[in-house]
Symmetry: C2
């Protein structure tokens, strides 16, 4: 029931990590094969794989690959040399993208493994197992998020849902967060249709979310990002559900650029605005949205669309990849540990402490 | 001083109307030559020319071409036959696009000419002169709009301005409305920079506005439409200036899709939101925004970007080409007859009656 996709985001065979190249979907289904942590870091940076939870799982496998690399390339059996190598890989992977906290959370988890064993072979096995565990847990977490979402919505009304970017199976190890909520609602017959923001510059909505909805036979329409307000004003949106890359301890949530604008439009139209994310997205070390580093991505991503140049190179562009939705614009945060309501500062902590 | 552009939107030589192909800018500067009203109608429909005032001027020339066509193709000297032909051309041109009122306004002006003369030759000359007059007036009007805008802004502070779509020289017979305001401010040294929404699906911002600003050496950055809220939240927008395709008698204003969302974002951030438009954009026959017909354009425009397919054909998309900004979100409407402040219903009528 949790398995849903005929394309896996990532395939791990204890030798290599194959990542579906999300830059090429839906036109081509090709996998990028990584056998080194350096390749994994590049794949994250270049957005072969994207989506906060998927980045976390991928990075964990990156460290597992680093352990295998060490074993293949070294006769050295010095445990501290091994740990140095692993720490170097963690450092490298953590510099691949700055905004999604799941990357750092997953790398912290595998780092903790380093303290638990004293032989290279035991550590290698433990690092592999931890990455595999993170992957399995992620799918279960997403499924639980979807189930928890059902508590929010009345069962008698089919919903018109707006989503932004891709918080689907492709953004995770499977099932998805925001799209997991939509899958869950759809399984109960509660989805009338989904409006999908195309999500410039990278078109994760048009290419990935639309494609996932198509596979699931969930009714949808793709719109350009600037149409969301129009459809809200026409009564065509009952609810907004999006993912998150990092949630500050006060509930401010970073997500794909454009999410903040949608939250403002939803507030203006009195439409409920939900964040769906694994609880690991909550970063208690980040006080508020102001403290979240917003990644500025290459200009070239704005000047072109899937390789087609839309502006001459001399034209100056800006490319912030995320924005922060303030807690006051968020109706609730749907996590695997339950639905968290405002005041978020108190209730996120309560949820954390209660489990 | 009014002349500003090294590319003319339209070139009329009393035989043909040449329209710069705005679908191909800024990569190619090619003109589409029209010698019949049917070609002019197709050019408007296919967006060779776009922008409410430019559409109005172009349609007027379309009727002038119809008169020339009649003279070239008929030995008939029956005046009522001639008038039927002209009326047929007016009807044809008026069906080219539904939202911009300037189209109907310009066609009404040339239609009125039909009552003023009783010979085919006099009418032909009069129709040509009326179209030429509309073109000349449009440039003067835009210049006046720019001058009137200077009354609004303090002279001591350079402004960070956000604009959407293209309300520039290319959207008019020259100088531009919203971009005319920016040109006017820039001539006084009052522009720090312009943020230009790329304006999907047709990219009028990225392709046309950015290109015009580049020619004028006015500092600018192109952003994707979903970034506007982010930059407002960062204090990077002091003021929003956009054009309009139709303004209802209560001040509700139709403009390119996405404008409404920006007005909501501006309100949220307490940023002034200005409409710049010739007074002919005000349609006193339209009571409110609800009565403005919103053009739904071909799906294919959303599924591709400058000919590059971004989604498979089977994916359903929506393509409303305009939205309506409610009067309450508009700080003031800058026209050639003065700056109109709320309450718009009263003050638009007062402005109309006072002149």
């Amino acid at each position: 029931m949790v398995e849903n996709s005929n394309v896996k985001t990532l395939i791990w065979d204890r030798k290599t990590l194959k990542l579906i190249d999300q830059r090429k979907l839906p036109f081509q289904k090709v996998y990028v094969e990584c056998s080194t942590f350096e390749q994994v870091g590049a794949a994250i940076k270049d957005m072969v794989v994207r989506g906060a939870p998927a980045i976390g799982v991928t990075a964990a496998y990156g460290v597992a690959l680093a352990a295998l690399q060490y074993n293949n390339n070294n006769d050295n059996t010095d445990i501290s040399d091994f740990k140095n190598y692993i720490n170097k890989s963690i450092q490298f992977l953590s510099s691949s993208r700055p905004t999604a906290v799941n990357l750092f959370w997953a790398l912290d988890r595998v780092k903790n493994v380093l303290e638990k064993h004293n032989s290279i072979s035991a550590l290698t096995e433990a690092l592999i197992l931890e990455a595999e565990k993170i992957e399995k847990e992620d799918v279960q977490i997403n499924y639980k998020i979807g189930q928890n979402a059902l508590k929010i919505f009345k069962k008698e009304k089919k919903l018109k849902i707006l989503t932004h970017c891709n918080a689907g199976a492709l953004a995770t190890a499977g099932y998805g967060t925001a799209l997991g909520v939509i899958r869950s609602l759809n399984s109960m017959g509660l989805v009338e249709k989904v409006l999908v923001d195309e999500t410039r510059p990278y078109l994760q909505g048009a290419r990935l979310t639309a494609w996932e909805l198509e596979q699931e036979k969930i009714p949808y329409f793709v719109i350009t990002d600037n149409m969301a307000g129009y459809f809200m004003s026409k009564g065509e949106v009952d609810v907004v559900v999006v993912g998150a890359d990092r949630i500050a301890s006060n509930g401010d949530a970073a997500n794909k650029i454009g999410t903040f604008s949608i939250s403002v439009l939803a507030k203006y139209h009195k439409i409920n605005f939900y964040i769906a994310a694994p609880f690991s997205t909550v970063d208690f070390n980040t006080k508020s949205g102001k403290d979240i580093q917003i990644e500025q991505r290459p200009e070239e991503e704005v000047r072109q669309v899937l390789g087609k140049k839309i502006m001459p190179d001399y034209m100056p562009v800006l490319n912030p990849s995320f924005d922060v939705t303030p807690a006051k614009n968020i109706t609730s945060i749907i996590t695997e540990k339950g639905v968290v309501y405002p005041p978020f500062k108190k209730n996120l902590l309560n949820t954390f402490n209660s489990l």
